[in-house]
Every structure is written in structure tokens, then in C-alpha cells.
């Protein structure tokens, strides 16, 4: 008998069947991975399990006993814990207080000492390097993630669900987390693991289930899994390759930056993709933001040889520098504006005559850009907040490349984007460089850097510490420089 069994779950939203008769189970002492493209229904299924969504039909059983729908508390009390993608710590509480939130120890008065002690031992086991007395607001994003994981570990007694737990974690922490998860399996917990990163999924799983378009496609024991077939099952079609072939013929130097943030020298040539590698906190994103004028920095930036003084993004855009954020939701998309308005927002002056916008010209330009970058929507009037991650990314490309640019800075261009859409983004990058654009790609995915960058600059502790040519680049070499 399975430890946890979801049977025939169907869930519809207006206009979409998010889950169609999906069944899924976990044994005690098993790691069962759930993979699929964005929108395949993984998170929806886990939200049904967690009680956030009430399904139209189906059932959930834990140890043969039916669990109620729509009751997060009842499910947690039975020993099922879910770590969601989004962080949900209370910023002003300490790590220990967060870990014991909702299940505080003690009688009328809290037993703080015990809670701190237990929290600390959980955090140490994870190797989080976090003091249980630190307030959450003072922690870095990976540290917060660790606290979140410690919270779930402390409360899970039977089933633990991890939904993309490593998307913000640097390499060594990922290793520790996976080790921790294996230990929990050893203690007899059933574990559901959701991730976009295949190497993790392959390293850890006992079984892998593929969902596609809200349907169950296959459940395969790890021994029988083949990478190519798995990708095909996920996207429902053949992908030639994860990374399209790339032939770069770099031209003249476009960007020459020196002394940025007190220690970063960079050049990017026309038609070239330069990768910016490094661990979380090594200053990759800051470098991108400094080039874009979004944070203050000393140093000198030259575009086509001419000095650029950008005090703010407006100046950088005018000089031909565009920056596309790693956090589309928080810093990229205007969720309540429609697709068209999202595309034209940075170049409205071009569609104005005597201060008045010309809706016809604006729409036409947006339409053309949306087509050029293959933004798929139900028309320009669709709200941007309702697009998938891949389409939001293409929308941002359309926005920033509506006017001619020289340098495009892409910060984690495929974070949270599914396999099919990733390949599309890569093909677009190839097309852009063949048109002579210079691209600086910030990424924490080594495979992506190796697959797409012509040259990789590695950062450590706020400084550029080395550079590797594409032909010479290996994961080991980059990690060696980065750590």
C-alpha cells in the first residue's frame, strides 16, 4: 500500500483544465520526482494536496485513510509538509521563531530556549550557516530558503513535498540539501521532489512521473529513465537539442567596462555572448545593474568607444544598453497592463506626436515586436500577468529591443522557464547576435553557460576573477574559479 495516494484528481479553472484525472503516489522511504513543463500541472497538483485548491473530483489517501480537501491545517497535522516555490517567512521574526511558527513549544509562555536549540540543530544539520536568533529580514535569499526547508523538515513526519527548492540555492548548498533529503528517505519519509533541473532529479529520484498539459504521461522507475525520452515525454515533441548550435563571429568591441563596483573589467563584442558566472552573492546581478545605471557604481563604461555616464536606467537605454531582470514578476512585468502596453512602455516617446500617443502606431509596433519575438497571447489586449513565464520573457525581449540596442544584459534568461520555451529563448539569442547585438548573459546554470556563451567571465566576491573561452570551458574549471 502506498503511503500517499492521489487518485483521479481533476481541477478546472475558467477556460482551462489544469488537471485531468491525474493519479500519483509515494511510497514510504521513496523519492518520487514530478517533472513537466511550466503549466503542466505540477504545482496545481501540490496545491490540491496542500489544501489550497479544492479539486472537482478525485481523492487523497494517506496510509489508506481519506484526507479532506481544502484544509491545509488538517493535512499538516497528519504529517504532510509542502515547501512552496515562493518564500513565506515572516521578515521581522527570527529564524527559530519562523521555524516554529504555528507550532510553538511551551505552555502559556513560550519555551524560547528549547525552540532556539532545536531550530539551531535543524539548521546545522542542513549546514545552513545561519544563527537561529537572526531575524529573517537579515538573511540572504538562499539562507531564507534554508530556514524554510528547516521549518518543513521539523514538522514533516510522513510526507515532504519540495517544489523547486533549489532554484535560489548555490551549488554546494544544493548538494547538502540533496544529502538531507536522502537521509529523510532513509528515515522512512515519502518525498515528492519537483524541479526543472534534470541533474538533481536524476541524482536523487527513485521514480519519475511526467505530467503534460494537466495529464499524467508516464511513471518510470529510475533504472529505466532515459534523458532524451524524458524530455520528449515532457514537451510532447522532439527537441533537436537543448541548446541550438551556435556559430559566433564576434566583431568590434561594443562594451568596454573597467573598474565597475571596484573590481570588474568586462568587454563584450558585437555578435558575442559573454557569460557571467559565479555563485549567488558573487556580484553578478550587481554588475548587470551597474552597467544599466540602476545602482550607483564607480568605474568607466564605454559603448562603441564613447563614455557612457548612466545615473539611471533611462540614460543607459538611451546609450543602447538594455537589461532584462532575473525576477520578471517583481521587476519586469506590469501585471495589470496589457501585452501591448507592456511592450511599448520604454519607447512611448516614439509613438507620440505633440505629446499625444497615436494608438494606431503604438499597436502596430507592439504587434510587430510581439510577432518578431513570438510572444504567444490571446492578442495584445491580454493582461501580461496571465502569460506563462516563457512568454513573459519574450515580452521583455520585445520591450527592450523595440528600439535599436547595442548591448543586451540578460539576467538568468531562462529561470523558471520550461524546456520547450528555453530552447526558443536560446534561438532568439542566436538570432540577435547574428544581427550584431552584444549579449551579456548572467546565469547560475552551468550547462546554460557552457551551451550558449562564447566566453565566460567568472566572478567571486564582487570581482571578476577569471575568463574561460568556450572551447576550453568545463563545469569544473568554472567552479574552481568561482569558489
Amino acid at each position: 500500500m502506498s503511503l500517499l495516494r492521489l487518485q483521479g484528481i481533476t481541477k478546472t479553472f475558467p477556460g482551462v483544465r489544469a488537471l485531468d484525472n491525474v493519479s500519483f503516489d509515494v511510497e514510504a522511504g521513496e523519492i518520487h520526482s514530478l517533472v513537466g513543463e511550466n503549466g503542466a500541472g505540477k504545482s496545481t497538483l501540490m496545491k490540491v494536496l496542500g489544501g489550497s485548491y479544492i479539486p472537482d473530483s478525485g481523492s487523497i489517501e494517506l496510509e489508506g485513510e481519506a484526507l479532506p480537501f481544502g484544509s491545509p491545517l488538517a493535512i499538516q497535522k497528519r504529517g504532510v509538509q509542502i515547501i512552496h516555490q515562493e518564500l513565506a517567512l515572516v521578515p521581522e521574526l527570527t529564524a527559530a521563531e519562523n521555524i516554529f511558527l504555528g507550532r510553538e513549544k511551551g505552555g502559556v509562555f513560550l519555551d524560547r530556549r528549547m525552540m532556539v536549540r532545536e531550530a539551531q540543530s535543524l539548521l546545522d544539520e542542513l549546514g545552513a550557516g545561519v544563527s537561529a536568533r537572526t531575524r529573517a529580514v537579515r538573511l540572504s535569499v538562499p539562507q531564507q530558503q534554508m530556514v524554510e526547508i528547516a521549518r518543513a523538515l521539523g514538522a514533516a513526519s510522513k510526507v515532504l513535498v519540495l517544489d523547486e527548492p533549489t532554484s535560489t540555492l548555490p551549488g554546494p548548498d544544493v548538494e547538502r540539501l540533496l544529502e538531507m533529503v536522502r537521509q529523510l528517505r532513509g528515515r522512512g519519509l515519502g518525498i515528492v521532489y519537483i524541479s526543472h533541473r534534470f541533474d538533481e532529479v536524476f541524482a536523487i529520484s527513485d521514480r519519475i512521473t511526467v505530467l503534460r498539459d494537466g495529464r499524467h504521461v508516464q511513471t518510470t522507475p529510475m533504472a529505466d529513465v532515459d534523458r532524451g525520452r524524458l524530455i520528449r515525454a515532457m514537451v510532447g515533441r522532439d527537441l533537436e537539442e537543448e541548446f541550438p548550435p551556435r556559430e559566433a563571429t564576434p566583431g568590434a568591441t561594443v562594451l568596454a567596462a573597467s573598474g565597475l563596483l571596484g573590481g570588474v573589467d568586462l568587454t563584450v563584442r558585437a555578435g558575442e555572448i559573454v557569460g557571467l558566472a559565479g555563485l549567488v552573492g558573487s556580484g553578478r546581478t550587481e554588475t548587470g545593474l551597474a552597467l544599466f545605471g540602476a545602482i550607483a557604481s564607480e568605474g568607466e563604461i564605454r559603448i562603441d568607444g564613447a563614455r557612457v555616464r548612466s545615473k539611471r536606467p533611462t540614460d543607459a537605454l538611451r546609450a543602447g544598453i538594455a537589461y532584462i531582470t532575473e525576477d520578471r514578476k517583481a521587476a519586469g512585468i506590469f501585471p495589470w497592463l496589457d501585452v501591448g502596453a507592456n511592450i511599448t512602455i520604454s519607447t512611448l516617446a516614439e509613438f507620440s506626436r505633440m505629446g499625444l500617443l497615436s494608438p494606431g502606431r503604438e499597436r502596430a509596433a507592439a504587434q510587430e515586436a510581439a510577432g518578431h519575438f513570438d510572444v504567444r497571447s490571446a492578442g495584445l489586449r491580454q493582461r501580461a500577468g496571465t502569460l506563462s513565464g516563457g512568454n513573459q520573457q519574450k515580452l521583455l525581449l520585445a520591450r527592450f529591443l523595440l528600439a535599436p540596442r547595442k548591448l543586451l544584459i540578460l539576467d538568468e534568461p531562462t529561470r523558471g522557464i520550461d524546456v520547450g520555451a528555453k530552447a526558443e529563448i536560446y534561438r532568439l539569442m542566436n538570432r540577435l547576435t547574428s544581427d550584431g547585438l552584444a549579449i551579456l548573459m548572467i546565469s547560475s546554470e552551468l550547462e546554460e553557460l557552457l551551451g550558449m556563451a562564447d566566453r565566460i567571465v567568472v566572478m567571486r566576491e564582487g570581482k571578476a576573477v577569471g575568463e574561460v573561452e568556450r572551447a576550453m570551458a568545463t563545469q569544473e574549471k568554472i567552479m574552481e574559479l568561482a569558489t
Partner: protein
């Protein structure tokens, strides 16, 4: 699922349906009084100040801000305008002084909000105290009568359909700014996602300062019209007007979280509340009950906004 669709429709267009429904109801049940030209003109005129203030408030709330100082600005600009008339600067001088003062007050608020980063609620609360206090001090808490030589022509600003025409002009101008200019689009963008706006190359602080200045300017304009209406500069004028403006904006569907709303919604919101008042008066409902009912309407509108923000 269908209730969801209905809710969405209500959240999007509910205020227009409610306004039309209320109008029809009163037209049928109170046709002999409600539908008279006199009553309708009165309703339009009485609510024109609220609409003018609410147009500015809509800009501010679209950026996820709020302006509590507009009522006080109405008083000070009215007082200043009256004093200019007393000192013989003429109607144009009085109008310029009143409107200019409002814009200046808004500009200062905007600078505090963007440069010192004081939350709009506190910054405009402080501005409300400063401006109201200044109006009292300026007049020694007395009213400044409009001098006889200009009183007739000055009164024309607030009689007949003049205030309604001014209101219409303000609404149209706001509509054009919001839908047909880069600035208007930037207002929505800054309210919907300030960090994204900054990274899209929008001068966020400049947009915010302009929005507060515009709101102050419109409050100054309303102040001059109010002074014309009561025939004097009165330091207690405009009390609680800020609440009417906020209520009209929120009932009209503009989200307090910013980034979502329209001037037509605000217009409908203002007239929904105005006609509701009128109808309740016709039914001789007690003033206290009217207040309670208005509070309930405001709660309902805000609940809908919250529900919509969570939806999707």
C-alpha cells in the same frame, strides 16, 4: 466558476451598472422631483467639486498613494484667492494664486514622498495640518469677504452650469492624459510595479512628483470654485472633502494598491454617491443613516478590489 465570472464583471463594470440602476430606480419612484431639471442640475453642481478633487485623487491612488491634504488645500487656496481679490489683483490673479498655491502644496508633498521617502499617508496628513493651520493663521480664523466690485463676476464661476463645464473639462483632460500620453501610461506602470517601471527607464520620482502636483493643482481649482460659491474665503471650507474624493475614487473601482482604475470609474463613483445622497434625501432618510450607508458602500467597493487583487 460562474460566480467567479459574475464577480469579475461586477468588479470591472459594477459601478456603471449600479449608477444606471440607481438612476432608473429614482427616475421611476421619484420622477416628479428627481427627474426635474432643477434637481439634476443641483446634483451635477453639488458634486462637481468632488469630481474635480477625485480626478486628482485618481492619479495619486493609481500610483498606490493617497492625498489627505486636498480638503485643507481647498480652504487655503480659497482664502488666498479671496485675499487677492480684496487686494485688487482681479479674478485672473485670484484664480492663478489659488490654483498655483495648490500646485505648490502638491509639489512639496511630492518631494517629501519621493526624496525623503515619507509614506504618502503620513506626508499628506502632515501637509493637511500645515495647510489648514496656515489658512487659519492667514485669516485669523475669520472669513474674507469677496469685495463688492468683483463679487458678481466672481460668483459666475460657481453658478449655472459653469462648475459642471469645468468638471467636464477636468475629466476629459484627465482621461486624455491617462490614456493618450506617455505620462499617463507611466502613472499606471509606476503604480502597478515601481521596480519594473524604474528598470523600464521610467523616471519614477518625476512621475510621482507630477502626480502630487497635479492633485494639488486640482484641489486649488476646487478651492477657488468653492470660494466663489460661498462668496468668501473661509478657512474651514473643504473639511472632509478628501474623504469624499477618496470614496468616489475607490467606489469607482480604482485599486488602492495602484496600477488599476479609470477616470470614468471615478466619475461614476462620485455620482453614485452623490445621487445616493440625493435619493436618500428624497426618501427623507436620516443623515446618520446616510453616513452608515455610505460607509457600507465603501466597504463593499474595497472588498471587491481586494478580491480582484487576489484573483489570478
Amino acid at each position: 466558476m460562474n460566480t467567479r465570472k459574475v464577480m469579475r464583471f461586477v468588479a470591472e463594470y459594477g459601478i456603471f451598472v449600479a449608477l444606471a440602476g440607481l438612476f432608473c430606480f429614482l427616475s421611476i419612484t421619484q420622477s416628479d422631483i428627481f427627474l426635474t431639471e432643477r434637481n439634476l442640475t443641483n446634483v451635477l453642481r453639488q458634486n462637481s467639486y468632488t469630481v474635480i478633487l477625485a480626478a486628482g485623487m485618481t492619479l495619486v491612488i493609481l500610483t498606490a498613494g493617497i492625498d489627505l491634504s486636498v480638503g485643507a488645500v481647498v480652504a487655503l487656496s480659497g482664502v488666498l484667492c479671496a485675499d487677492m481679490l480684496v487686494k485688487g489683483y482681479g479674478i485672473a490673479g485670484g484664480l492663478a494664486a489659488g490654483v498655483g498655491l495648490g500646485a505648490l502644496a502638491g509639489l512639496v508633498t511630492g518631494l517629501f514622498v519621493t526624496r525623503v521617502k515619507i509614506p504618502p499617508f503620513v506626508a499628506t496628513l502632515a501637509m493637511m495640518l500645515v495647510v489648514r493651520g496656515a489658512a487659519m493663521k492667514y485669516t485669523d480664523a475669520r472669513t474674507i469677504a469677496i469685495p463688492a466690485d468683483v463679487s458678481d463676476s466672481f460668483a459666475r464661476l460657481s453658478t449655472g452650469i459653469t462648475p459642471v463645464l469645468i468638471m467636464s473639462g477636468v475629466v476629459l483632460a484627465t482621461w486624455i492624459v491617462l490614456t493618450r500620453t506617455a505620462f499617463g501610461r507611466h502613472v499606471y506602470a509606476v503604480g502597478g510595479n515601481p521596480e519594473a517601471a524604474r528598470l523600464a527607464g521610467i523616471r519614477v520620482r518625476r512621475v510621482l512628483v507630477c502626480v502630487y502636483a497635479a492633485c494639488g493643482l486640482l484641489a486649488g481649482l476646487a478651492g477657488v470654485i468653492v470660494a466663489s460659491r460661498i462668496g468668501s474665503g473661509y478657512p474651514n471650507a473643504g473639511e472632509l472633502y478628501e474623504l469624499d474624493a477618496i470614496a468616489a475614487t475607490v467606489v469607482g473601482g480604482t485599486s488602492l494598491f495602484g496600477g488599476r482604475g479609470s477616470i470614468w470609474g471615478t466619475l461614476a463613483g462620485a455620482f453614485f454617491i452623490g445621487i445616493l445622497n440625493n435619493g436618500l434625501n428624497l426618501y427623507e432618510v436620516h443623515a446618520y443613516d446616510q453616513m452608515i450607508l455610505k460607509g457600507v458602500v465603501l466597504l463593499a467597493a474595497t472588498s471587491l478590489d481586494l478580491w480582484r487583487s487576489r484573483d489570478s
